[in-house]
């Protein structure tokens, strides 16, 4: 029997200065990652509101990843430090509610780390694919 792997939908919020540029570099170097990963550009990872993450899950995303500059390298000096605290506590809360912790992730990707960007996306997509469809934070109204 042919088993087709689940194709997850992944939303990646990337900060404009490091991670979005890292994603561009992955492109420049033709480093492949699944087309299921869709990037949304934000000025800084600290712009990512938990509401956006929940919204993505509501609308059918299976995984959400937030990428920002490495701690200490934030274009705005402190943005990613806030991101780090906000996402640590938010992810812990999602886990507390029984939502699979592998569906969310924060990764620091610099503008020079095209390879890391691609590798991260491949790995994340694989993990999310293994979890299958997001059922615990889905909104069936959006699937009709």
């Amino acid at each position: 029997m042919q088993v087709t792997e689940y194709k997850p939908l992944i939303v990646a919020f990337c900060c404009n200065w490091c991670s979005y540029a890292g994603a561009d570099l992955a492109g420049n170097n033709r480093l492949a990652y699944p087309a299921d990963v869709k990037i949304i550009r934000v000025p800084c990872s600290c712009r990512v509101n938990p509401t956006f993450i929940l919204r993505a899950f509501q609308r059918g995303a299976d995984g959400v990843i937030i990428c920002g500059c490495h701690p200490g390298d934030c274009h705005y000096t402190s943005g990613n430090y806030y991101t780090r605290r906000r996402m640590a506590t938010l992810f812990s809360m999602l886990d507390f509610l029984g939502i699979e912790r592998e569906r969310t992730r924060v990764e620091w990707v610099s503008a020079a780390e095209g390879a890391k960007f691609a590798a991260t996306m491949n790995e994340f997509a694989q993990k999310v694919a293994a979890l299958g469809e997001n059922k615990r934070l889905e909104d069936l109204r959006c699937k009709k």
Binding site: A21, G27, A35, Y76, S78
Partner: protein, 664 residues
């Protein structure tokens, strides 16, 4: 509803190779708001841009979506195109279907599908775009330099050279800073005074530069281009413009046992004093804590002997308020206190001194007129021990010293050791070190000369304890290379004390809303790319307030800061980035959460009167963002629980629309 035009770029085969561009433009044609959709080989080419302009005119487009390469590549290009077509530049959105699609996906079906989704997201966003206009603010063409050491001096001279007025605020009675106290400078051994004092005179004589010595900055308001600064000019009880600096008053002053700060207390000065011969401004200052006349109204000798009539016992602190376009921080450093380093017997023996004290001791203008003698008995020392890293690189003893390397100690100690051996060949000179760090032009050569030509004995190891015994200092140390304990009888011990930012730096940083690291060094806007700018717009960093550095580094940074200031002051108006935070006053609670996370101090609060729907009025505290200061990171938008804070260009509803389009 927007009238959106979609332009899909082939980028030759870069995009078209993996993405069916025709299918993309066809699919996007049906999206809400889209009235025109086309594809072309090179959208960024002249012809491509013309195509956009024509479409804007023919189809009355209000928004543009370009599906092409990364916005980091051509967003600016297409924004200019929009402007040329009569649109607001912020009505353009880019769908990145090259770097983030065609180049990373090999399958045409998957690539095309993704390109369509990215296009839809961009359309969803542009449907919610509003024209944005950058704010403008005028620039006051005057700079303030805080600190009159070599960093401040160099910055002020460079800015003045470009024709802009500069004010230098120095808290001491004279400018000159630490460099004025130094004897010789490494690695060339030219005398510090010989190279510094002409610059001090240049400052004094430059008609673009005003010196506020014996003054402090007490308040800073405003923002880049328009800082309103309050300067307190402390009363020196001598009319600065009348005093000729003749020194007659100093000679006759009966209060002559006041420890002389300039010589680090190694000799005395009078109650009325001029710190050193080449002081700028060369005017006397009365120390109010020491002067009998000021303390109890008895004396008045200086007034009598002053031929110019410059003494004014009734002088009051003067408050100066001035507006500046830019502020340069050059507050410098101090050696750390040796109080906590009891093992080196600093407080027990006068013959244990710091390196800066050693500088004064060997300086021809110093307390001993340059004769190297023991402070305790005036005798010539034969065995000298230099201890490196006293309080520097103190990982385990952070409560005593500093975790960082003070950077300059290795070189000045080599200098001290070399000069001692040169002048007094009968001496034995030991240097105890952890590492010798000599990166810098001619630095390692210099150090090697000290060892090889001058016979300075470098010992890798730390001094454990120094005990004064008789007229000797018993030094217990370890030699890590020979792996043995050393016991030396020294006549003089010199401690290379770590350096730390001046204590005035932290309150100043608060006033400037400039950020600092945990060591109280000012943080630069970017450690590599913007090393002389503070993250707070319009505030620049010069010298050791930003981190330990030697004189050449300080001077080059001072010049760099000056050039940044000049770049700012030549502008008549500052055009801001319109993608800044905006506070909705109607939903703002005034809770201060946003202010707490703003790295730029761009948010302030005001009590505003609101007319309520029931016709009553209510005064509420609400946030207000200064668009000239905000850099648009968006940290505030998430900190705000009521959603009152939003970010132009990346509004909540725009990002959610993108999410929706992607997750459909």
């Amino acid at each position: 509803m927007q009238r959106v035009g979609v332009f899909v770029c082939w980028c030759g085969s870069n995009i078209a190779g993996t993405v069916d561009v025709q299918a993309v433009s066809e699919a996007l044609k049906n999206e809400p708001g889209v009235v025109f959709s086309a594809n072309y080989q090179y959208m960024c080419s002249q012809a491509g841009q013309e195509m956009i302009k024509t479409a804007v005119k023919e189809h009355h487009l209000t928004g543009i979506v370009v599906c092409s390469c990364s916005p980091r590549m051509h967003e600016a290009t297409f924004r200019k195109t929009a402007v040329a077509a009569g649109l607001n530049p912020y009505m353009v959105e880019i769908a990145n279907i090259r770097e983030q699609c065609s180049w990373v996906h090999k399958d045409v079906t998957a690539g095309t599908e993704k390109a369509i989704i990215l296009g839809k997201a961009a359309i969803a966003k542009v449907n919610l775009n509003t024209p944005l206009t950058p704010g403008e603010s005028p620039v006051t063409k005057r700079a303030l330099v805080i600190g009159g050491g070599i960093a401040g001096i160099q910055t002020a001279l460079d800015i003045a050279d470009a024709g802009f007025p500069v004010d230098v605020v120095e808290k001491q009675p004279t400018i000159g800073g630490k460099m004025a106290q130094l004897d010789k400078t490494f690695p060339t051994l030219d005398c510090a005074a010989c190279i510094l004092t002409p610059k001090m005179v240049d400052v004094a004589q430059n008609d673009k530069i005003r010196i506020f010595s014996y003054s402090e900055v007490t308040d800073v308001r405003g923002f880049v281009g328009n800082f309103d600064v309050t300067i307190k000019k402390k009363a020196r009880f001598v009319k600065e413009d009348v005093c000729t600096g003749c020194g007659a008053c100093v000679e006759k002053c009966p209060m002559k046992k006041i420890p002389n700060e300039f010589n680090l207390g190694m000799d005395n000065r009078h109650a009325i004093y001029i710190p050193f011969a080449q002081a700028v401004p060369k005017v006397a200052t009365i120390d109010p804590d020491a002067c009998n006349m000021l303390k109890n109204g008895k004396c008045g000798i200086c007034s009598k002997v002053c031929a110019a009539g410059a003494i004014d016992y009734k002088q009051k602190d003067e408050i100066i308020e001035e507006t500046y376009g830019a502020i340069v921080v050059a507050t410098g450093f101090n050696p750390i206190s040796m109080e906590k380093f009891d093992e080196y017997a600093y407080s027990q023996s006068k013959d244990v001194i710091t390196s800066l004290e050693f500088e004064r001791l060997t300086n021809a203008a110093g307390p001993t007129a340059g004769m190297l003698v023991r402070p305790s008995d005036g005798k010539h020392p034969h065995t000298l021990v230099f201890v490196q890293c006293v309080g520097s690189r103190c990982e385990s003893c952070a409560e005593k010293g500093k975790e960082y390397c003070s950077k300059i100690c290795c070189m000045y100690t080599a200098k001290h050791a070399m000069l001692t051996r040169d002048k007094y060949p009968d001496t034995e000179v030991y240097v105890f070190y952890v590492d010798v760090r000599t990166p810098g032009k001619n630095f390692d050569e210099f150090y090697r000369r000290a060892v090889e030509e001058y016979g300075v004995k470098y010992v890798k190891g730390m001094v454990g304890k120094i005990v004064p015994e008789g007229d000797k200092l018993k030094v217990q140390a370890s030699d890590l290379i020979a792996n043995k304990q050393l016991h030396l009888d020294a006549d003089l011990v010199v401690l290379a004390a770590a350096i730390e930012p001046d204590h005035s730096a932290r309150p100043l940083a608060t006033m400037l809303t400039a950020s600092m690291d945990t060591n109280d060094f000012f943080t630069e806007a970017h450690p590599k790319l913007r090393p002389v700018e503070s993250p707070t717009a319009g505030v620049f960093l010069s010298g050791t307030c930003q981190g330990p550095k030697d004189i050449p580094e300080t001077v080059s940074q001072a010049g760099a800061a000056a050039s940044k200031v000049i770049g700012l002051l030549v502008k008549d108006k500052l055009t801001g980035n319109p993608c800044v935070a905006i506070a909705n006053e109607l939903t703002c609670n005034g809770c201060s959460s946003c202010e707490r996370v703003c790295p730029y101090g761009a948010i302030s609060y005001l009590d505003k009167e609101f007319r309520m729907p029931d016709r009553t009025t209510k005064i509420r505290r609400v946030a207000s963002v200064n668009p000239a200061v905000c850099q648009g990171c968006g940290a505030c938008t998430v900190a705000c629980p009521s959603g009152a804070m939003d970010l132009n260009g990346f509004m909540n509803n725009q990002i959610m629309a993108e999410v929706d389009a992607i997750c459909k």
